[in-house]
């Protein structure tokens, strides 16, 4: 099994296509950083235009933590496409190249083969998230420095102290990894049914877009299914940036407003991953290789 995983990782990281996602994340974040470095104050003024009359803010709003949050809000919507590029290609790409035939005439079990491929795609997903973390968090901390994080929610404002932020980002990236693994496992499942990677990539993105629209539609008839859609829970990382307040309405350092909701979202995502993976194994074990 370990040999299979090593081989799959070797193949993933020897393919030029793999690095498109890393290059895309680098370029997108670099553009955001460039824009905010150049004209960040205007952006902050625009962001704060509705509340500056009722609040006096001291300190540096545009800091590394703030830029990281802005970046994640923008990018975590698009990262699924980059994940799907590789995950949805894992089986269909091999079928398209014809290498699936060669692979499966070797003395390896189909279950181990599919598990190794899945683990490799999860490793790729994690690597991409680590790269995102380096670019969005660490580089921004270096470029913009660190200070308190000021977040405008729909009905209230959250102010997180500088020393109470870093750990939240680490957990948020961990949660994002779970959400992106769900995307990877869906793309992986779709890749069993096609002999080129375009179909599974488009199918994965279509499901995400369709479910996201259902998740965000405020129509009562859809409310019953929303809790079961994985897209509803993919934005659960934002919960790490909600803080509890005490009776005097002061923020409790190190607290999370609703940890139960995070656990619930994580559980829903995890169940989806297991479901997609189990379906992949069962289908692939019985699949006739005709490519």
């Amino acid at each position: 099994m370990w040999t299979l995983i090593q081989i799959e990782l070797f193949k993933i990281f020897r393919r030029p296509r793999t690095y498109i996602a890393f290059a895309a994340i680098f370029s997108l974040i670099a553009i955001i950083q460039f824009g905010l470095k150049l004209d960040g104050d205007s952006y902050v003024d625009f962001m704060m235009r509705d509340i500056t009359s009722s609040l006096t803010i001291e300190g540096k709003i545009l800091n590394g933590y703030q830029v990281c949050y802005i970046t994640l809000q923008i990018l975590l919507v698009h990262v699924p496409l980059l994940i799907a590029l590789v995950a949805a290609d894992m089986i269909s790409g091999e079928a398209n190249m014809g290498t699936l035939r060669f692979m499966l005439t070797r003395p390896i079990s189909r279950t181990n083969f599919i598990l190794a491929k899945f683990i490799a795609s999860v490793v790729y997903t994690l690597m991409l998230l680590i790269w995102l973390a380096i670019m969005a968090l660490f580089v921004n901390m270096l470029l913009f420095g660190t200070d308190d994080l000021f977040l405008l929610k729909s009905q209230y404002v959250v102010l997180l102290k500088r020393d109470d932020i870093f750990w939240r980002y680490l957990w948020a990236f961990g949660f994002a990894a779970l959400a992106m693994t769900t995307v990877a496992s869906l793309g992986f499942l779709f890749s069993l049914f096609a002999e080129n990677s375009i179909g599974p990539i488009v199918a994965t993105m279509s499901v995400i877009i369709f479910f996201t629209i259902l998740s965000t539609l405020n129509i009562p008839v859809f409310n019953t299914i929303k809790p079961f859609l994985f897209t509803t829970h993919m934005i659960g990382w934002k919960e790490f940036f909600d803080i509890k307040v005490n009776d005097a309405n002061e923020a409790i350092v190190g607290s999370i407003q609703n940890p139960g909701r995070i656990w619930q979202s994580a559980l829903v995502l995890f169940v989806h991953i297991i479901g997609f993976l189990a379906a992949s194994v069962l289908i692939f074990k019985k699949k006739d290789i005709l490519s």
């Binding site: 081989i7 190249m97 035939r101 499966l104 070797r106 003395p107 390896i108 079990s109 005709l290």
Partner: protein, 311 residues
């Protein structure tokens, strides 16, 4: 002789299509087993079932005396297969591909052994070039090299000369003969290129529409003494009519607008010619044809194809 493959009642159905129908055959140790059939006859499906890529609907496959379904990994350790095109990872080098597939086969081969394997298939000078720069013939040889890297007892080659130029075809033929004669491997070689099979096979199975037509020793099946003679005349309808009425009528096989085929012993050709003259048949040409090709047409529905074509 030890049985290497024993197939009993093998059937594969895809929805409404029966690709392989109750096929049974045996491959013995040391055989170069020619697996012949037209396109769509069921060769590739059978080969895929032998390689565990496709599950049979019915029937049993025993390889090395073990059931393929229950002892898959154990069997595949001793099998090397190239199914259809030898597709490998184009973004990797020949060396990397060979190493990767060796590891998949559970063999931890040294760089020296990999180079020796590449040398055997004539690719040692291109070991570190990416496969995307290789010709079809080189890819085919690399595919065979990969199939051999774990030193299997049984080698399955599906249409190994497809898409190759004459030199590539000759290379593959020599390699097959080398593997059989020098390295004492058992090979199954499927093809629709009949003369290729004729040159390498020791035993032959011909299938048509998924079912066995005939199986046996190549030398017995393709008796060179039995010859198909193609007759062309100025008046074929008259010639056909006369031949049907004569003693040669039973040997008449297939007629086309401009040719008549007749299956006779080589020694009878002179007599046949003489009688054509006696029957006042205006002969344009009388030409012995390739025995295996005509044999194949005789025993498969290729006959119908010829008739359809001619009409």
């Amino acid at each position: 002789m030890q049985e290497i493959i024993n197939v009993k009642g093998l059937t594969k159905s895809f929805q409404h299509l029966t690709a392989v129908n109750n096929l049974s055959f045996t491959v013995f140790e040391g055989d170069v087993y020619g697996f012949l059939g037209q396109n769509g006859a069921g060769k590739s499906t059978t080969i895929r079932m032998l390689s565990s890529l496709v599950a049979p609907t019915k029937g049993e496959i025993e390889i090395f005396g073990l059931n393929l379904q229950t002892h898959r990994s154990e069997i595949l350790k001793q099998v090397g297969a190239v199914i259809e095109k030898p597709d490998v990872y184009k973004y990797l080098t020949a060396f990397e591909n060979l190493k990767l597939f060796a590891r998949l086969s559970g063999v931890n081969v040294s760089a020296k052994l990999i180079m020796a394997q590449l040398d055997q298939v004539g690719l040692v000078h291109r070991a570190h070039d990416k496969v995307k720069t290789f010709s079809q013939g080189m890819k085919q040889r690399l595919g065979i090299g990969i199939a051999l890297v774990h030193n299997p007892k049984l080698i399955i080659l599906d249409e190994p000369t497809n898409g190759l130029d004459p030199q590539g075809i000759a290379d593959i033929r020599n390699l097959i003969l080398h593997l059989s004669r020098e390295m004492h491997k058992t090979l199954i070689v499927s093809s629709h290129l009949l003369n290729e099979i004729e040159q390498v096979a020791t035993r032959v199975l011909i299938i048509d529409k998924g079912a066995k037509v005939i199986e046996g020793d190549a030398t017995t099946l393709f008796d060179p003494a039995q010859t198909i003679v193609e007759l062309q005349t100025f008046n074929n309808s008259y010639a056909l009519e006369q031949l049907r009425l004569s003693k040669w009528g039973v040997h008449l096989k297939t007629g086309r607008d401009h040719s008549i085929l007749i299956n006779i012993h080589r020694n009878q050709i002179t007599e046949f010619h003489r009688e054509l003259v006696n029957m006042d048949i205006p002969v344009l040409s009388l030409q012995p044809r390739h025995s295996l090709e005509d044999y194949f047409l005789q025993v498969t529905s290729g006959n119908q194809h010829v008739d359809t074509y001619s009409n």
